[in-house]
Symmetry: C2
Subunit: 226 residues, 2 copies
C-alpha cells in the first residue's frame, strides 16, 4: 500500500484498493478470454498455462494466483461461456414473432456456438474431479433458473401457452442441448444438423392464441377456413 503522502486521489488508500480490485478483475477477465479461445481450439490437454499466459500477455504465476490450476480455469471459462451464450440466445429469441421461431432462434443460437461443447467437457471433468463440481453445479442451476425466468416471461408477455409447465420446458431444453451436442461430437454432425436434431426432439414448445391472431387479421370478413 502507498503512503498517504499527497492529497491526490491516487494516494488515497481506499482509492488504490479499488483500483487494484478493478485491475484484478480486468486481468481475470483477460485470462478467461484467452483461455476460452485456446481451450475451444485445442482442448484441455493440448493447452498449457504458459500458452494461456503468453496469449493474454500475462505471467503464468498470474494464472495460478487467480485460478490455482489449469483445470479450474478450464471449468470457469466454460461456465462463463455457456451462461453468456444462453443470455445471447434469449435476446435473439425475444425478437421472434411466433413460438416456432422463438424455439428455433434459441436452438440455433445455443448450438451455433462452441459453448455447449466446451461446457460438456467441463461437466465430464467433474466426474473425476469433484473439487471442480460446485461451479458447474451452480451453472446448471443458473441455466435452468434463467431459462425458466426468460421463458415464463415471454409466454406471459405474448400470451403464448406453453405445452409443458415452464420449468420442465427449461430443464428439458438444456438436457437435450447437452445430449445432442455430445452425440454430435461422435457423429461428426454440423451445427445445423445438431440444431435440426434438437428441434425434432423438442417438438412444439408453445402455441400462440390462434383466435386472438385471427380476429386481428380477419376482422369483419371472417371466412370459414381461417
Amino acid at each position: 500500500m502507498k503512503s498517504p503522502a499527497a492529497n491526490d486521489r491516487s494516494s488515497d488508500p481506499k482509492h488504490s484498493a479499488r483500483a487494484t480490485r478493478t485491475a484484478g478483475r480486468q486481468m481475470r477477465s483477460r485470462l478467461l478470454d484467452a483461455a476460452s479461445i485456446l481451450f475451444k481450439q485445442r482442448g484441455l490437454a493440448a493447452v498449457s498455462i504458459a500458452d494461456i499466459a503468453a496469449s493474454a500477455d500475462a505471467f503464468p504465476s498470474q494464472i495460478t494466483y487467480y485460478f490455482r490450476t489449469k483445470e479450474a480455469l478450464f471449468v470457469e471459462a466454460a461456465c462463463r461461456d455457456v451462461l453468456y451464450v444462453a443470455r445471447a440466445a434469449e435476446e435473439h429469441a425475444g425478437k421472434q414473432l411466433s413460438p416456432q421461431d422463438y424455439t428455433r432462434a434459441l436452438v440455433d443460437s445455443v448450438l451455433g456456438s462452441d459453448a455447449v461443447g466446451f461446457f460438456v467437457e467441463a461437466m465430464t471433468l467433474t466426474r473425476r474431479r469433484q473439487d471442480l463440481a460446485p461451479l458447474v453445479e451452480r451453472t446448471v442451476e443458473r441455466l435452468h433458473a434463467e431459462g425458466l425466468r426468460a421463458y415464463a416471461a415471454e409466454m406471459a408477455a405474448r400470451g403464448w401457452h406453453s405445452r409443458l409447465d415452464p420449468e420442465t420446458s427449461a430443464r428439458r431444453f438444456w438436457a437435450i442441448a447437452i445430449g445432442v451436442t455430445l452425440e454430435g461430437h461422435a457423429m461428426g454432425r454440423s451445427a445445423d444438423a445438431s440444431a435440426a436434431e434438437m428441434l425434432r426432439l423438442l417438438g412444439p414448445q408453445a402455441d400462440a392464441p390462434a383466435s386472438a391472431a385471427r380476429l386481428r387479421v380477419v376482422g369483419a370478413d371472417a371466412s370459414p377456413q381461417d
Copy 2:
C-alpha cells in the same frame, strides 16, 4: 500351425484355426470385461494397460495386439456396456403392464448402471480423437435403431399408442439419458434422482387404449362416453 500328423480333430488345420479364433474371442472378451470394471472405477487416466492385463491375467502385449491403444479399448468397452444395458433395459421393461411402468423400467435400468456415464466419457473422447469416433457413431445409431425396433414392437403388440412418432421417441430417450447423466455428474445426483429427473423430462410416452380396456369391463352395457 500344427502338422497334420495324427487323425484326431485337433490336428486338422481347419479345426485349429477355428480353435484359435475362439480363443482369440475369449481373450478379447476377458480383456473388455477387466477394462470395463477398472475404467468405471477409476477413469481413463488412472488405469494403465499393465493394470488391465494384470486384472485379466494376460500380457500387456495382448492388449495392444487386440486393441492397439488404451483409448481404443476404453471406447470399445464403453460401447459394449451401453448396448448391453440397453438390451437388458428392454427386457426388463417388456415385463411391465402399463405404458407408465414400461417407461419407468426403461429409465431405471438405463440410469441405474454406470454404463451411460462410461459411454458419455467415450463420446467426450471422440471430440479430440476423431479416429475413435466411428465405433461411437455406430453405437449411437444402434441405440437409436434397437430402441426404435423394441419400442415400436411393444406399442404394436400391446395396442398402446405412442404420443410421438416412435423414432423421435427413441432418439429423444437417448439424448435425454445422456444429458441427464452428464448433469448428474456435476450435480452429484444419485441414480434415483437422475431417474426421477429423466422421467420428468420425458413426460408420458404412450397411452393404453382406455376404451378397449373399458369395453372389456363394461361389455354390453357400453355408455356413450366410451
